[in-house]
Amino acid sequence: MSEHIMSSKFYYTIWIALLCLTVITAAVSFVDLGPFNTIVALVIATIKALLVVLFFMHVKYTSEKLTKIVIVSAIFWLFLLLALSMADYATRLLS
C-alpha cells in the first residue's frame, strides 16, 4: 500500500455516481419489469458496492495482492453459502 493520494475531485465524481445510481435504482423499482426488477436492482447495488470497494476503500490503486486474495475469497465463500443453499431449496419441489 504505497502512498497514493487521489484528488478530491476524483472522490466527488464517485460520490455523484453513487447518488445517481441510488436515484435510478429507486425510480426503476416502480416500473414493472417482471423478474428483471430483482436483477436490475442487484446489478445496480453491485456496481455501487464495486465503486465503494475499488475507489473509496482504495483497493484499485493501493492494496497489495494478498489483500485482494482475501477480498476475492470473502466474495467466493459468500457465493458458496448462497448458491449451495439455494440449490437445495430451489430444487425441493422437483422431486
Binding site: S29, N37, F56, M57, L66, S85
Partner: protein, 234 residues
C-alpha cells in the same frame, strides 16, 4: 542490538512498531488484518441474507406485501445519507494523508453527524412500524396489509417472518452504525490531539474501511428490503 538485524529495533511507537521492517510493511499488515475481519463480517451478514433469500422464495406474497409497507422515500434518503458519509470518510483519509489536521477533524465530525442522521431516520421508520403493529410479537397484526392486497393470500405467520428478518437485518446494521460512530468519536478525539500525521494515519484508514463496509451492507439491504417487490401484485 544485532547490527545486521533488518528490524529497526530502536524505533518504537505507532509510527513504526519494532516487529515491522518498515512503515509500508506495517500498513500492509494492518490493512490485511482489517480485510480479514471484514471477510468474517461478510459471512456474518451473509447468513442473514441467505435466510432472507430462502424465506422470500418460500413466502413471496408476504415478503412482497411487507416490502411495500416500508417507506421507500425514507429508505432512499438514508441510502443517500450513508453515501455522503462515505464521501466524508474518503475525504477524511485524504486529509490525514496530507496532514491537514483541522480538515480531518471536521470531516470526521461530519461523518458522525451523517451517522446520527441515518440512525434517526431509521428510528422514525421503526417507530412507524411500531404504530402499525408490524413488530413481531404479541401485538403483531397485519389486517391492514390483508385489506390492502386482497388479490394475494397473506398468512400472518409468514408475514411475521418477513418483519423478523427486517428488524434483525436493519437492527444488526444499525448496531454496526452505532459502533462505527463510537470508533469515529475515538478517531476525532485523537485527530484533534494531532496524533495522526502523513507518516502514521493507519487508525483513520482502518476506521474508514469499517465505515465503507457498513455502507456496502446497506447498499444491498436497501434494494432487497425496499425495492425489488414494488411492481404491481397479481
Amino acid at each position: 542490538m544485532l547490527s545486521d538485524s533488518p528490524v529497526a529495533v530502536e524505533q518504537h511507537g505507532p509510527e513504526l512498531l519494532h516487529h515491522f521492517a518498515d512503515a509500508e510493511q506495517q500498513r500492509d499488515a494492518a490493512s490485511l488484518g482489517m480485510w480479514l475481519f471484514l471477510a468474517t463480517e461478510v459471512m456474518f451478514f451473509g447468513g442473514m441474507f441467505c435466510a432472507y433469500l430462502i424465506y422470500r422464495y418460500w413466502y413471496y406474497n408476504e415478503f412482497a406485501a411487507g416490502s411495500r409497507s416500508l417507506d421507500i422515500w425514507l429508505g432512499t434518503i438514508n441510502t443517500a445519507v450513508l453515501i455522503c458519509s462515505s464521501l466524508t470518510v474518503a475525504l477524511g483519509v485524504r486529509a490525514a494523508q496530507m496532514g491537514k489536521r483541522k480538515l480531518l477533524v471536521i470531516l470526521l465530525l461530519l461523518t458522525i453527524v451523517f451517522g446520527f442522521a441515518f440512525l434517526g431516520i431509521k428510528g422514525v421508520e421503526w417507530y412507524d412500524k411500531y404504530k402499525e403493529h408490524h413488530i413481531p410479537g404479541n401485538s403483531f397484526n397485519v389486517d391492514d396489509l390483508v385489506k390492502e392486497y386482497p388479490q394475494i393470500h397473506i398468512d400472518p405467520r409468514h408475514e411475521q417472518i418477513y418483519f423478523s428478518l427486517y428488524f434483525a437485518m436493519t437492527g444488526l446494521h444499525a448496531l454496526h452504525m452505532i459502533i462505527g460512530v463510537g470508533i469515529f468519536a475515538f478517531l476525532t478525539f485523537h485527530a484533534w490531539k494531532g496524533r495522526y500525521t502523513p507518516k502514521y494515519y493507519t487508525p483513520v484508514e482502518m476506521g474508514g474501511l469499517y465505515w465503507h463496509f457498513v455502507d456496502i451492507v446497506w447498499i444491498y439491504l436497501f434494494p432487497l428490503l425496499y425495492l425489488i417487490d414494488r411492481k404491481p401484485l397479481r
